[in-house]
Amino acid sequence: MKGSRFLLFAFFCCCVCSFTLKEFIPSPFYQPKDWPKPSYDFKGNPLDGDKFELGRALFYDPILSRDSTISCASCHLQFTAFAHVDHPTSHGIEGRIGNRNAPGLANLAWRKLFHWDGGVINLNAQAINPITHVAEMDMRLDSLMYRLDRSPIYSAAFKRTFGTTDIRPFHLVKALAQFTVSLVSANSKYDKVMRAEDDQVFTEQESKGMVLFTKFCSSCHKPPFFGGDDFKSNGLPLHPELLDFGRMTITGNKRDSLLFMVPTLRNIEYSFPYMHDGRIAKLKDVIKYYTLLDYSNPLLSKELRKNPVRLSDNEQKDLLAFLKTLTDKTFLFDERFKYATIK
């Protein structure tokens, strides 16, 4: 009798423990050593492993698009640095083509501005743009809320994580932000060398490349993010069909014409094609583009005009070797960011 009571008690304890453990699934977000404080408002959306898992499932679920064919991951694939390879510009439902290259997603917690033109100023709100954009998911928010409400899986998940039976857009975008804010990439060879970790050292070629990078590139692509909230002109002429004027679209200021966000170079090896409209396919050709640039162009960013990138063929190879040290394979293949559905 005593034995059966003990077994019953042990079973009860196991149930409590498993419930408690479920409640405390950790979010993968972490603060790398020596990095600045994140810009993201964690108080407004505290890290929560359960919400992260919901956001992860939503990120990979085409339920967000009008005809249920396109998910966030359609244009942001993990193993290509959450960017979109092959297609110069993103594509949406029914084969619709957007006018910008889908940028890689990493270290978004430290960003204040989003999109190539910086038109979005809040990571939570960012998700509304691709969901409702006619060339992307083309989904009405009210229809999406209805669809999620009617889904037994998602209605249960939102009830469990947000305690709501009335799913609103802010629940959805906060769940998605739990996932996207957790995409921290800070474990490349470059990071390990900087941290003097695992006896990692640069090769001679990488070291030479880093010197060149520091001299010619780092004024815009500043470490540790190698890109961010600045808008610059890299001299690319206006695309005659896309007619994308970049930052000027947002500010209405002619001085912002053809300025685009400085993209991060982290995982750049895998986030081809390059530039805001994906017009350059290979990384070596991006480097060559800068070496052939007309630096007398008054519309170029001042950093480029002051310090033209003049590199020999060998120096271009050295720079390329350094850029490849920014690849973070633990991030690209992190199990916690892979495709998942709600359990």
Partner: protein, 218 residues
Amino acid sequence: MKVAFHLFLVSFLFSLACYGQLRIIPSWDNKALELEQVYLTENKDSISFSTLKMYFSDFRFREKLSGGITEIDTLIFYDLADSSTHVFFKNLEISNYDDVSFTLGLDSSKNVSGELENAYDPLLGMYWAWNTGYVNLKLAGKSSLVLTKTHDFEFHLGGYRFPYASAQQVQVDLLDSYIQFELSLLFPDVISLKKTHHLMLPGKEAFLILQGLAACFN
């Protein structure tokens, strides 16, 4: 006697219903505006409205006796199609105040707050996804002044960036528990539908139209 009693009862109930309420009443020629109703402009052009949505914020009520200011820093969403949005401040005794000033729209801090709940809910149709922020006022309808096949006009008026921060300050006397918003004053001086019938961008035009709209409150 019975009639007098009924009149008294009705007026008493009406005063109870109005207690502490502030209404915004859009109008055309001093009559309450109705959606899809055809009106005539001063020049006898037809016009009808299918959408009128707007934001109000930062209310400042000036008290009659003390002259003190009661500030209510809140964001209020108004939709002519939804009567539940027409009455505000149910717990405020409006008759205690001489006048009120408020913002038609949202200032920059509210635009960038990152809030997406309640009056900020994107489901209300006022959120600008492509350029983070909110439309201050949406106005749409049909008019013979619009020289296209459909005669449609549509204005999404917003923007909070310098130099065209378009939210407008409004001050009105509180002679009653409602504020009139007379739209016939807009045409043709503030909005020339022959020239502009669609506007979806922040900028000088949106700023000037909102300035004209602010002058329609009385």
